[in-house]
């Protein structure tokens, strides 16, 4: 597939964020799961022009994707209210990495509860800078999707 994708390349990571419920016991995060799947090749046509470019470099997180995993898991706090009421589930978010590598426009595409959603947004928004996607040597903005799993061990 020679024709590079202009706007959207996806990053798929599922983070499992687990916390223990028993008070005064482990409330730390346990376990991170990363799922990698082959990228479906999508040809993009922009402004009526067919873009052909072989040297697209996907956005990267300094230190690699595992570092980003660690960043998310370390910084997310399981909201107290959700923990107390045993609210759990996956939050699906979309966000944009702009030309400067900043995470912008974080949106919930399917949420769990208000406090869990807000916590996920907060951590993504305060993420350190990424190295932006480059196409033909030029930085471009890309949209990403992420799922963060909030689950409580019994």
């Amino acid at each position: 597939m020679k024709n590079a994708l202009l706007i959207t390349l996806l990053l798929l990571i599922t983070y499992d964020l687990k916390a223990q419920t028993n008070d005064a016991q482990r409330i730390d995060t346990i376990g991170i799961a990363q799922i990698t799947i082959e990228v479906p090749k999508i040809t993009h046509i922009g402004e009526g022009v067919f873009v052909s470019c072989d040297d697209q470099i996907d956005a990267t997180f300094p230190g690699g994707i595992d570092k980003f995993n660690q960043y998310v898991v370390k910084n997310i706090r399981y909201p107290d209210f959700a923990k107390k009421h045993h609210i759990q589930g996956k939050v699906y978010l979309n966000f944009i990495i702009d030309k400067d590598g900043r995470i912008k426009s974080v949106r919930i595409s399917r949420g769990v509860s208000k406090d869990i959603n807000e916590e996920a947004i907060r951590v993504l928004k305060s993420s350190p800078k990424w190295n932006p996607t480059k196409m033909c040597g030029k930085a471009i903005k890309t949209e990403y999707a992420i799922a963060i799993n909030f689950s409580l061990d019994k």
Partner: protein, 530 residues
């Protein structure tokens, strides 16, 4: 909320009564029964000035028996100029919407490649999507806008094929469509390549998934593509795309918001989106809509209604639901069409359950019950063609049947069973299904025989007959008259509603007034008071 669904069901019953003159399926021709279609390549030039097409279709078939004849369906409105079998020109007849090829030597068992060159003006739809054909239209900026619907007429509208629901091209389809260079072709699967030569552009679309004949279509227009990354419920990455007319580009972002909410909701009930390796996509079309696999046609003109306080598009939801019910799970006989339309429509009601609650969900069915025609059973007999099988009740009564089944089995059993069915390899993709498959699966998972319920509501127009006999001392005997199974029944006596198990022998209840049976309407029923 009330109004929304009233409109939905009225729309269905109002429009669907237009009968189709073209049809497909029915009793399979013996010459075609021994031929398994593996793949189609459709390579056509589209002439917008003449409303014509020309090019070829290449069909890869696998012969189960040696044969002196090859038979393909193609509508007579076209002209066939040449037929090649394994690269060699062969004699053929072309009449009565059939191409009959007479290979010089008997065709042996195994694979064969048939290429048919043809041209002409394909049938034009008068009232799509209820009457099929090509739709030649223009958008308000003067750009050509073309679409095809083929659910009734079948693929033979414009490409030679085995036009029967029991056979899908297992290895997928390649479409190589040439149009004027200012236009964009939106097709199934993934776009491989666009070649621009002079005044034309050739779009090569390819799907590796098995696909039903009526989904093998393309759309042409002044499209702009909006894409978003998406993560499926199983954690796989996918892409959501909307092929929107340039003139409506400002509507695309909100459309995608509504669409993505719909995708997450359908995945919750039916499991992962079935064609994630290619794309999740909709294309704006000049007709209302159709479930074209991986390029679902959308023509509801961005008319949203509110469910749970947020924008919802019932038509988008319904057509997209067919990616599970119709495209992933496909009936092998049109007789079992309710599996597509009934379960898909039930899924539409689940959206309301999800975002507006159980009460609003119940109201949908309490209203839809008045729309049934109930003149013919949903499943009439085997070997049905599309036109004969396509009755309103496959939608509304089919959906109601699923509502009843949910009540009978209970949520903790019903929802996992439904998801298990639609995610089981045995009933999906290449493995087409029948009503019996659905019944036997639910019976097995449920742990008791559900056949009487399936038979009553799907194979007859009878209603559940509930007999209430008044006995002395404020007592009543409640019996099921025409079904040989135990069923749960909500019974209200003196203002208190209890869910009780009733059968033919009956159940005695005490009440100062006549008991109220099934007040929330989980059954299509007739109550006889003695």
């Amino acid at each position: 909320m009330k109004k929304i669904y009233l409109i939905v069901f009225l729309t269905f019953s109002g429009i669907l009564t237009y009968s189709q003159t073209l049809t497909n399926g029915g009793k399979i021709k013996p010459e075609q029964a021994i031929m398994d279609v593996r793949h189609y390549t459709i390579a056509l030039n589209v002439d917008f000035a003449e409303h014509a097409i020309n090019g070829y279709t290449e069909i890869k078939v696998n012969m189960a028996k040696p044969s002196h004849i090859l038979l393909f369906d193609l509508m007579d409105s076209l002209n066939v100029s040449k037929v090649l079998v394994n690269g060699k020109t062969e004699h053929f007849d072309y009449k009565n919407n059939l191409i009959t090829i007479h290979p010089e030597k008997e065709l042996p068992v195994g694979d064969a490649i048939v290429r048919v060159y043809y041209s002409g003006k394909p049938h034009v739809a008068r009232r799509p999507p209820w009457d099929d054909g090509f739709i030649w239209s223009k958008d308000s900026t003067g750009h050509q806008w073309m679409a095809i619907t083929a659910e009734g007429a079948g693929g033979k509208l414009y490409f030679p094929c085995k036009d029967h629901p029991s056979d899908e091209p297992n290895e997928g389809v390649d479409m190589i469509i040439t149009v004027p260079k200012d236009l964009f072709v939106a097709g199934p699967g993934l776009l491989q390549k666009v070649t621009k030569t002079g005044a034309t552009a050739t779009y090569h679309w390819k799907t590796n998934y098995t696909i039903n004949n009526y989904s093998i279509i393309f759309n042409v227009g002044d499209y702009k593509v909006f894409s978003r990354p998406y993560i499926t419920c199983d954690g796989h990455k996918a892409t959501v795309q909307f092929y929107v007319l340039n003139e409506h580009a400002d509507k695309a972002n909100h459309f995608l918001d509504v669409f993505i909410k719909t995708i997450h909701e359908q995945e919750k009930y039916f499991g992962e989106y079935p064609f994630r390796k290619e794309k999740i996509a909709m294309a704006e079309t000049p007709h209302l809509g159709m479930e074209h696999q991986t390029m679902v046609a959308y023509g509801n003109k961005f008319r949203y209604t509110k469910v749970g306080g947020e924008d919802y598009d019932w038509l988008m939801h319904h057509e997209f639901g067919h990616e599970w019910w119709g495209n992933k799970v496909t009936a092998k006989d049109w007789a079992d069409y309710w599996i597509h339309e009934g379960i898909c429509s039930f899924g539409d009601a689940l959206y309301t359950r999800e975002f507006a609650g159980e009460k609003e969900y119940n109201k949908i069915f309490q209203k839809s019950i008045f729309t049934f025609e109930n003149k013919l059973p949903i499943v009439q007999h085997s070997d049905m063609d599309e036109d004969a099988a396509y009755i309103n009740d496959i939608y509304s009564k089919g959906a109601f049947f699923m509502h009843t089944l949910r009540y009978v089995m209970g949520d903790s059993l019903f929802f996992p069973t439904l998801k298990k069915f639609v995610t089981s390899p045995q009933y999906t993709y290449d493995n087409l299904v029948s009503t019996d498959d659905v019944e036997q699966f639910f019976t097995k998972q449920g742990g008791y025989n559900l056949k009487p319920l399936f038979d009553l509501y799907l194979r007859t127009t009878n209603k559940l007959e509930i007999h209430i006999k008044s006995l002395p001392a404020n007592k009543y005997l409640i019996q099921l008259q025409n079904i040989d199974m135990k069923l749960p029944l909500d019974i209200t006596t003196d203002g208190v509603t209890k869910r009780l198990i009733v059968d033919a022998k009956g159940l005695r209840v005490e009440s100062k007034s006549i008991p109220v049976i099934d007040p929330e309407v989980f059954y299509i029923k007739k109550i006889i008071i003695e």
